[in-house]
Amino acid sequence: MAEVNLGKPIHRFGYTSRKDAWWVKPLFTFIGLSAFVVYVTWAAFQGKHYYSGHYISPLYSPELFGDSPHSWFGLKPSWWPTWMPWSPALLILWAPGLFRLTCYYYRGAYYKAFWADPPSCAVSEPRKTYRGENSFPLIMQNIHRYFMYIAVLFIVFLSIDVWNALWFTNEVTGKTSFGLGVGTLVLAVNVVLLGGYTLGCHSLRHAVGGFMDRLSGKPVRYKMYKCVTCLNKKHMLWAWMSLFWVGFTDIYVRMCSIGNWHDLRIF
């Protein structure tokens, strides 16, 4: 017989009348996000094997400073503190990281999976107090739009990487020719998935037209709003696919760089 509770809420972790496996989704979220954060942190601090010829890992692009041919401004900057480990990824990864951290989808997902706030719908929480996103630090989630602007720029940079990945240099003659490798496709899929995720962002939807009450008579803005809305409907799917593929793209480039995998040239 079920427990009767007519009074105040019972703040006991996982207390619920639900009979389904409500814990499965938050558990998978916990495992998936934890695995990604652990891998990306490890990869970001490596500082090597992040490029292979004309391929560069998305965790290191754009490479502002570094010793690869992809570097924009040359070698490691002299102002970099000596006590701090150096990796080109550390200069840029904060931007996509904070974009995902403040993303509306991820917020809902990690509040459940990592903070049990609530663990799942209609399931009790371990804490009595709740402040929501009203005070520091969670009030900072409101600046998600600024990270969105930067994330859109990253899509441009990663698209340039795909363009560069279409040009193969002959090691003997030194001549460059147009071609397509498996690595090019891996990088291209990465841009498509990240594009689907970034361009379906709730803040972008608001910025392109959502803030207006009337979009009639503004055909370009209306079209943009419809496009972003279309991507936004599957925001969770884009979020997970792009997350997985970013990790896989880094692994692909890393394996090619180490020499464990050999990039297959299609033409």
């Binding site: 017989m1 079920a2 009767v4 509770n5 007519l6 105040k8 809420p9 703040h11 619920t16 009348s17 639900r18 009979k19 389904d20 509306y104 989808y105 917020r107 809902g108 509040y111 459940k112 706030d117 609530p118 719908c121 209609a122 009790s124 929480e125 009595k128 107090t129 709740y130 402040r131 929501g132 996103e133 009203n134 969670l138 009030i139 409101n142 600046i143 739009r145 709730h202 803040s203 939807r205 608001h206 959502g210 803030f211 207006m212 009450d213 009337r214 979009l215 009639s216 008579g217 209306y222 936004n232 409907k233 925001h235």
Partner: protein, 250 residues
């Protein structure tokens, strides 16, 4: 015919217990049918609120196996019958009797929301003109049947009982319908932040998941309102631009 065992919460705000009823299930039956059958056969004093039995009146809200649902839209064929089916009143509201709760707090909240304030009429005859694409967005919010399942499942109300600081997803949907209306010129963003407590929503989407009208509450109402609040209170660049853009233009 298969049989199902129901454990139904019987009692009032002071005391209650689960009582067990077993009955035969026929094809096409929903939970509300079973409850009404139990009421007719075994428990004439079982209190249950219902009206249309078609998912339109929003009266028969309850929790079936711990999940907030309209009993009339909950098919018996979707429920496993090997274990007792738990039927309880909505947890977020004070219990009156058995499956009936006092949802009057919701109506009090609604009274405090700034009303629809249209711009001056577009035509000399006192009428307005609206484009279909402008009204499409708020049309979804008009589907709400006020079943209050979203209020029931929202942990801010259910778990933390912040009714005095937070109006709940139902009323964010209501405000979204007003705030995004092409004719409305009222600004409710300050109320949303300061008295309606939109900052308490942490976007878990539970309200969207339980909505029987399939209103995309979180993505289409709450998050756009959060963004509008961010425009006014958290985005200095946007505020600068807003100085050059009148509400009329929006």
């Amino acid at each position: 015919m298969p049989t199902a065992t129901f454990e139904i919460l019987r009692g009032d705000a002071n005391e209650g217990k689960f009582e067990t009823y077993t009955l035969e299930i026929s094809e096409g039956m929903v939970v509300l049918d079973a409850i009404l059958l139990i009421q007719a056969k075994y428990a004439n004093d079982l209190a249950v609120r219902w009206n249309c039995k078609a998912g339109h009146c929003g009266s028969c809200s309850a929790e079936v196996n711990g999940v907030p649902k309209l009993m009339c839209m909950c098919r018996m064929s979707d429920i496993k019958l090997d274990k007792p089916i738990l039927v309880q009143p909505m947890k977020a509201f004070p219990l009156i009797k058995d499956l009936v709760t006092d949802v009057s707090w919701n109506f009090e909240v609604k009274k405090k929301i700034k009303k629809f304030k249209p711009r001056p009429p577009d035509a000399a005859d006192g009428t307005w003109r609206m484009a279909q694409e402008d009204i499409d967005r708020v049309q979804e919010f008009r589907k709400c049947i006020e079943c209050f399942l979203c209020q029931d499942v929202c942990h801010v109300i259910r778990e933390h009982q912040l009714q005095d600081k937070f109006i709940g997803p139902r009323y964010f949907v209501h405000i979204a319908g007003l705030e995004m209306h092409p004719l409305d010129v009222e600004d409710r963003r300050e109320d949303l932040k300061k008295t309606d407590g939109i900052g308490f929503c942490n976007i878990t989407k539970c309200c969207t998941n339980v909505c029987p009208q399939e209103i995309t509450i979180t993505d289409n109402a709450i998050i756009p309102l959060k963004e509008r609040v961010a425009d006014k209170f958290y985005d200095p660049v946007k505020r600068l631009f807003a100085k050059f853009r009148s509400k009329k233009e929006q």
